[in-house]
């Protein structure tokens, strides 16, 4: 076991895969010699060669387009989109091409590529460096969308993604790159050092896609979260002294319905948390699934804690962010009713 930040864990996953499989390569804007604006590919070009870790033009549609062609031709490309906010020019290539190639060719061709991209706010990135667009991708059949919340899962899930025979969108909550975040931006930053999930095995291991992680077990209320909001949920549960079941989904598609159903049937109360905007957010899908499967076990209306239905503002970042206050209010509602 080694202490790693999430950045180091992500880099290590690529290093492990590139060492084991000559067909794995990575590319994106500023990814090569420089090692990426968040340093996730630092050192990979030096270690594995110019042709295996290289810079691309500023062209997200082009980056995903070549990744599809490479993947169809037997390679395992890992394409970096510098910020998830920049992914939209590639949307057609992801939604209409990568995700559908296996289906429309009835298995004749497939595109096993991995797309890595940082999501979420908390770094004063404003409208163009803070978005959480996961729901725009979970709606696409043929694509897997996953999001780790800690270094251990990040490495194991990224290796699973690279080894998956399907296209995988791997979202990296950038506020968690260097440490867990309790939602209070005024408290000093915490590093992954000393956190049990900052302990990362060396070499190859996988975290299977489609399995949620139980962050803590309780009987009073279910808190369903992913990415940054996992740690906000935990902090609020601590502060309120909740006996909470906290589920880190890790994988949105495929979704661990069993874990959700078992927990809500046990607690009868459910709060869903995400940083993305509220309307048609992934929380809407989760809420629908919970009421369809657990309606007669529910003691209170399902609560959603989300960002507001506005673009991610710059100066008002912490007013937008679904921080501890908003979570606490939702929990109180869920506990109060019935």
């Amino acid at each position: 076991m080694t202490q790693m930040s999430m950045i180091e864990a992500i880099r290590d996953a690529m290093d492990v895969c590139m060492t084991r499989d000559p067909n794995v390569l990575t590319f994106g804007e500023d990814v090569g010699y420089f090692g990426g604006v968040f340093r996730c590919t630092a050192g990979l070009q030096e270690k594995h060669g110019l042709h295996r870790c290289f810079d691309t033009p500023i062209s997200e549609g082009g980056i995903i387009g070549i990744a599809i062609g490479m993947a169809a031709n037997g390679l395992r490309p890992v394409a970096e989109i510098q910020f998830a906010d920049y992914i939209y020019p590639a949307y057609d290539q992801i939604a209409s091409e990568a995700a559908r190639l296996r289906y429309r060719s009835n298995g004749d061709f497939s595109a096993p590529l991995t797309i890595r991209t940082p999501v979420g706010g908390g770094i004063f990135g404003g409208t163009t460096h803070s978005q959480s667009p996961e729901a725009l991708f979970t709606h696409i059949a043929g694509l897997k969308t996953i999001i780790p919340s800690n270094p251990y899962d990040a490495k194991g899930m990224l290796i699973s993604a690279i080894e998956s025979d399907d296209p995988v969108l791997f979202l990296e909550p950038k506020r968690l790159y260097n440490g867990p975040f309790d939602g209070d931006h005024e408290s000093p930053s915490v590093s992954w050092k000393g956190h049990p999930l900052g302990e990362v095995p060396e070499g190859h291991y996988t975290v299977p896609l489609g399995q949620a992680r139980q962050i803590r077990e309780g009987r009073q209320i279910t808190m369903i979260a992913y990415g940054t909001m996992v740690w906000v949920a935990e902090a609020v549960a601590d502060a309120m002294g909740l006996d909470a079941d906290i589920i880190d989904l890790r994988s949105l598609v495929p979704l661990d319905l069993g874990a959700i159903e078992a927990s809500v049937k046990k607690t009868g109360r459910c709060v869903i948390l995400h940083e993305a905007t509220r309307t048609s957010g992934f929380g809407a899908e989760l809420s629908a699934q919970v009421q369809e499967r657990c309606f007669y076990h529910l003691e209170a209306p399902i609560q959603r804690v989300t960002g507001w239905d506005t673009p991610y503002p710059h100066a008002q970042e912490w007013a937008y962010f679904p921080g501890p206050k908003r979570v606490r209010a939702a929990v109180e509602l869920a506990l109060k009713a019935a």
């Binding site: 062209s59 387009g65 070549i66 091409e97 296996r102 009835n106």
Partner: protein, 428 residues
């Protein structure tokens, strides 16, 4: 640089409303009711541009983007530096493939009109582009075609029965009804799954080619777009990445003058060359008479050699004419003169190769008649076999439950659930 050659005179506004604006909107030279006259398009008879070494500097092909590579004169004589070194057997094979492609198109179009399939797209007038191109590549080179290169499959000995089964979406459809007619996928014939979204495959082909280079293999990729979809961003991505990474590929623009009802001037303004798009990217550029199978072969062979030797990509504009509607859902008489195709000054590609073969004493009218009859017979008999396997709404059908398959490599839980819901829906 050679002087720009204008291919389209445009006519002013035909709307009942006078244009009160300074904004320019291009219009094709002829509309229904006009007498088309393409005398403004120069048909070079003897002066194809010089054939440079395939490993030349890309700038040496800048003038080729503005001229027109031709091999066959209308009297059948082959002239100039681009005459390909191919024997009469291969030329006859190309003619056979073109005749077969046309015969299959005609049959499938007629069967669509009888309701046997939902849709069809003919490639009439463009058979030399697909067939000539395919024969100049290796069968293992991956092509990323559009829906009008079915001639490549014929040239590569794909099973016509499987092609027809795909169009009929019947029980023998290799794609099990997942794609609309003509959007074939034949990996075993180096034929990439065709997307219905235009332009998207250009950049994928560049990625495929980069992977060939990455693996130290000498395969190349060849990708197609119509002139209309060169307006998509994907075209820019493809040319830019092909240039940056010197990808071993060929980027073909089939300029058949029409994108459904929009004439080529809508795609990028009048009088320009689509091949010239490549010049600014530092790519080699060739513009070829797409109704001249030997010229298509020669240009392709040049570009393939350049790509295979590490010289990078070539943009080839195949200058041709879409002799029929866009698809069975289209009626071209609504937007262009009925006899437009007949007066197109570059002739018919099948006729031109036939005339050439007769000119060199390797073919005659009787053999041609026999070939046409034989092609029709083969198509008719193959179609009979295909229809015995069902059509889109009659006879043996693809099992509906296959719609849940091949979404992912393994079935996610939610899809398994939905499959069960569908089972219940059927039993109600």
């Amino acid at each position: 640089m050679a002087k720009k050659q204008s291919n389209h005179a445009t006519k002013p506004n035909r709307s009942k409303m006078p244009n009160r604006s300074r904004m320019h909107v291009p219009e094709p030279p002829f509309r229904p009711g006009d007498t088309p006259d393409y005398s403004h398009i120069s048909v070079p008879a003897m002066h194809s541009p010089h054939r440079p070494d395939p490993m030349c500097d890309d700038h040496e092909t800048a003038e080729h983007a503005l001229k027109l590579i031709r091999v066959m004169r209308f009297n059948g004589e082959a002239v100039g530096e681009w005459i390909p070194a191919i024997d009469a057997d291969l030329k006859r094979r190309m003619l056979t493939d073109m005749v077969m492609t046309r015969a299959m198109d005609d049959r499938m179009f007629a069967m669509q009109r009888q309701g046997k399939m939902s849709f069809y797209m003919k490639s009439r007038g463009e058979e030399a582009v697909s067939v000539g191109h395919a024969h100049a590549l290796r069968n293992s080179d991956m092509v990323f075609p559009t829906y009008r290169q079915q001639g490549i499959l014929i040239a590569r000995d794909a099973s016509m029965l499987e092609m027809m089964n795909q169009c009929l979406s019947n029980s023998g459809d290799p794609l099990q009804g997942k794609s609309i007619p003509v959007l074939y996928s034949f990996k075993k014939h180096g034929f990439f799954s065709i997307s219905g979204n235009l332009g998207t495959q250009l950049i994928q082909a560049v990625g495929w080619a980069m992977a060939e280079a990455y693996k130290n293999e000498d395969g190349i990729a060849s990708t197609f777009t119509g002139e209309g979809a060169t307006a998509e961003g994907d075209f820019h991505y493809a040319l830019n990445f092909a240039s940056t990474y010197r990808a071993p590929c060929i980027i073909n623009v089939v300029n058949n003058q029409w994108a459904i009802s929009s004439f080529q001037g809508i795609a990028m303004g009048e009088g320009e060359s689509f091949a010239a798009r490549g010049t600014g990217y530092g790519l080699a550029t060739l513009r070829v008479d797409g109704n001249d199978a030997l010229a298509v072969y020669a240009a392709t062979a040049w570009a393939a050699e350049r790509a295979r030797k590490g010289g990078g990509a070539t943009v080839i504009e195949h200058f041709t004419y879409r002799a029929e509607g866009h698809s069975t859902s289209d009626d071209p008489s609504k937007y262009r003169p009925k006899n437009d195709a007949d007066v197109w000054p570059f002739g018919d590609p099948v006729e031109r190769l036939k005339v050439h073969l007769i000119h060199i004493g390797e073919w005659d009218e009787e053999r041609h008649e026999a070939l046409s009859a034989e092609a029709k017979k083969t198509v008719r008999e193959t179609y009979k076999q295909a229809e015995a396997l069902g059509t889109v709404d009659a006879g043996p059908q693809v099992d509906d439950f296959t719609m849940f398959e091949k979404v992912y490599a393994d079935d996610p839980e939610l899809l398994t659930e939905q499959r069960e819901l569908f089972r219940r829906e059927l039993s109600q």
